[in-house]
């Protein structure tokens, strides 16, 4: 039963994430991303972390992707018309691949050959998770919050500036 659910949603996540990158219509891409994120939330439930699943759906699919859609509809972005070689895209692909390689070597160097036990349910349940975030790792947690605040402030300043020049 659990295996069947896993296989179904793993396949769904893979297929929908492929649609995200391959579809030419940005609206379809975002809708497929919704499916991907919901499938990943199901993975979290299967791993014994329902809190992460709920937050994943609430924050990513319920808020962030709606903003994606909002922007796409507001700017009326139609299908991607560029074909052929694009220096910008090629550069982005090279940088992304390099970054992925860096991450992989980091993880490999750190964890290869170590005896790893799977994540216990007691580590990702509600109370231990809260303790980890707001006690053990309080400083990194607050710094991430500050980073988001800085991004929001910067976005507001940029939006205000363009409004001032236009009027």
């Amino acid at each position: 039963m659990e295996m069947a659910v896993f296989l179904l949603f793993a396949a769904l996540a893979l297929v929908s994430s492929l649609v995200v990158v391959l579809h030419r219509n940005p609206i379809y891409a975002v809708m497929s991303l919704v499916v991907t994120f919901v499938s990943i939330a199901v993975m979290f439930v299967l791993l014994g972390a329902p809190f992460l699943a709920a937050v994943q759906v609430l924050v990513y699919t319920g808020a962030i992707l709606v903003l994606f859609l909002f922007v796409i509809m507001l700017l009326n972005v139609s299908g991607d018309s560029s074909r052929g070689f694009d220096l910008h895209k090629a550069l982005a692909a090279v940088v992304a691949a390099g970054f992925a390689l860096l991450l992989l070597t980091l993880f490999w160097g750190r964890y290869h050959g170590l005896d790893l036990s799977p994540l216990q349910e007691s580590d990702v349940a509600l109370k231990p998770l809260a303790r980890a975030l707001l006690d053990t790792y309080l400083l990194p947690f607050e710094i991430v919050g500050l980073l988001l605040l800085a991004a929001v402030t910067a976005a507001t300043v940029l939006a205000r500036r363009s409004q001032d020049t236009s009027s």
Partner: protein
């Protein structure tokens, strides 16, 4: 089939049976209620007091021609009305309708899914509702529909924040996401006779929650995604027959589950003081469900009353209310409740 699975199926069946009745009954209440408020008669031809009007409407919806605009995105246009039912038919699973009972020698909690994440799961599922509106508006390929979709996405994001913060303030003194714990917390009385419901100590949060609930369900005075005086019918302009009916059902069932949530969070849920909740399990379940439905009905009637009493907001007024009034109020309420909880008052 295991006993747990059967029990879950039975509980789901009970909720479904009740929720599917909401739309026809509420349509009748809405039309007769609006007629009463506006000093008219309302539907009075089909059946006594026009009670069978909803049935006639249902037959009409099924017989009407289903039109898909030629330039529409066919796939999304068909998918959107189905998605409208997803939050309506899933969010009820975490709402408790009674205490744990013993049936056939087994302990059965009177909630479909007693998940640890409780109300968070409900909010997560409810937040998916906006996709149906956005999809419908976009796929119709019509400027009014698109404007309705854009408004819906902006409005729901804005009011979800205030709504969630109000809910968090309720959960703080309880110390759990589970709604059955929230109900247990509200049992007992102030001064021996006033029920210890959250609506009293947390009246600011209650106010924020109710106002945000109107925006989340796209009800007047916040029904800007379908404002008929400016957008024809907004996101569902290009929908007809049963597809249109599905949007209608989604709206009313969404209202019903949100009313149940409001009753659970602020009015003590299935619990009523001075009611003993003893006897056979089915009687306890019936009592709990009856009390919950009764309290939710109060909210539903309030929804109807407000709709026919207040004029529609302008979109900039709506945004200003959401971001500059409700959100700060919700944050202040959260800080006050947190301080009182730490101080041991709540």
């Amino acid at each position: 089939m295991s006993f747990e699975l059967l029990a879950t199926l039975a509980k789901t069946g009970l909720w479904m049976a009740l929720l599917l009745q909401v739309t026809p009954i509420m349509v009748w209440v809405e039309r007769r209620g609006s007629a009463m408020i506006q000093d008219r008669l309302g539907p009075n031809r089909v059946g006594p007091l026009g009670l069978f009007q909803a049935l006639a409407d249902a037959v009409k919806f099924m017989c009407k021609e289903d039109i898909t605009p030629a330039e529409a995105d066919k796939f999304l246009h068909r998918l959107a009305p189905l998605l409208a039912l997803v939050p309506a038919l899933t969010t009820f699973v975490v709402i408790p309708f009674g205490p744990d009972v013993t049936a056939f020698g087994r302990q059965v909690p009177l909630v479909v899914a007693g998940a640890e994440t409780g109300v968070l799961l409900l909010l997560a599922l409810a937040s998916l509702g906006v996709y149906s509106l956005v999809m419908a508006g976009y796929s119709s390929n019509n400027k009014y529909s698109l404007l309705g979709a854009i408004r819906a996405s902006a409005q729901m994001i804005s009011y979800e924040l205030a709504l969630t913060l109000a809910v968090v303030a309720v959960l703080l003194p309880v110390g759990s996401f589970e709604l059955s714990e929230v109900v247990r917390y509200q049992q007992g009385q102030f001064l021996g006779w006033i029920p210890k419901w959250n609506a009293l100590p947390q009246f600011v949060g209650f106010l924020v929650f109710v106002v945000a609930a109107f925006a989340e369900t796209n009800r007047l005075p916040f029904d800007l995604p379908e404002a008929e005086s400016e957008l024809v019918a907004g996101y569902h302009t290009e929908y007809s027959s049963m597809k249109f009916a599905l949007f209608f059902m989604g709206e009313y069932m969404g209202m019903a589950t949100l009313s149940c949530l409001a009753a659970t969070l602020y009015l003590g849920g299935w619990h009523l003081p001075f009611l003993s909740y003893s006897g056979p399990w089915w009687w306890v379940a019936a009592q709990g469900m009856g009390v919950l439905v009764g309290k939710a009905t109060l909210f539903l009637l309030f929804f109807v009353w407000v709709r026919w009493t207040f004029p529609r907001f302008r979109f900039d007024q709506l945004m200003r209310l959401g971001w500059k009034v409700l959100l700060p109020l919700a944050v202040l309420n959260l800080i006050a409740v947190a301080a009182l909880t730490v101080g041991g008052v709540l």
